[in-house]
Symmetry: C2
Subunit: 147 residues, 2 copies
């Protein structure tokens, strides 16, 4: 009666999900994955349920959710009595964080751009001691070199 029950080694599961084998063991260790059944020789075995669960985890991680957030999402996804709206709220929160980070990075990009430009324009390419950029950097922050 074991029709259609695929069994994977840890390596096969790794290949199927794109999660490395040490990471899979790590996920088991921290309880993200249930302890895998073992062969007589002690090697871990996985099935399609594990494939689904690990795929879920991988997707969430690719979304940038922290391990703790993934833990909550996993619980929610299995839960029969908790509202799935919680999921949306976690995602929304994370989206806000991503946008915050985006804004910071955009600012950083502009600052670095003008840093590089100024390195090219202002600096004769001489020894470090004469470089105006270094003098800027050692002075209190005022945004002198950048937007």
């Amino acid at each position: 009666m074991n029709l259609h029950v695929r069994v994977f080694t840890i390596g096969a599961l790794a290949k199927a999900t794109g999660v490395s084998t040490p990471t899979i063991r790590y996920y088991e260790e921290i309880g993200l994955l249930p302890p895998a059944p073992r062969t007589a020789g002690g090697q871990r075995t996985y099935d399609d349920d594990d494939l689904g669960r690990l795929t879920f985890i991988k997707q969430c991680r690719d979304f940038g959710f922290s391990i703790d957030q993934v833990r909550v999402l996993l619980e929610l996804s299995i839960s029969t009595n908790r509202d799935c709206v919680e999921t949306r709220d976690i995602a929304q929160l994370h989206l806000d964080e991503v946008r915050q980070k985006l804004a910071e990075l955009r600012l950083l990009e502009r600052r670095l751009e003008s840093f590089v430009t100024r390195c090219n324009v202002a600096c004769a390419g001489g020894p470090g001691q004469d470089c105006v950029i270094f003098k800027d950097l050692a002075a209190p922050a005022k945004g002198g070199c950048c937007g």
Copy 2:
């Protein structure tokens, strides 16, 4: 002859630079700052040189340079015979990385957006087991739920 020689405690230096006191001690430990002279009682003392150096470090860290990159930049800033163009190259490299990260985050933002939207539209707000989003997440990556 000690006119204009300001001396700081670690706390004052922390306040002046925006770097926390444990972090200052950490920077000393890893050799980013020279070992600070001590009072008779063993407390660290700093002067304006240290202020300049730590400000430089802080600015670089705010730019997102790694500790190792800061180490190189510090060396370059003191060096008398190394070309300051190296600095520009490090900054350029870092700028490239920032732009890469920006592109990734923008993609992530769009994916999360459509995730949240779909949570709102597709999901009745019932228990997790029935949520279509979870089914998407547990299925192999195909971008089914997002752009």
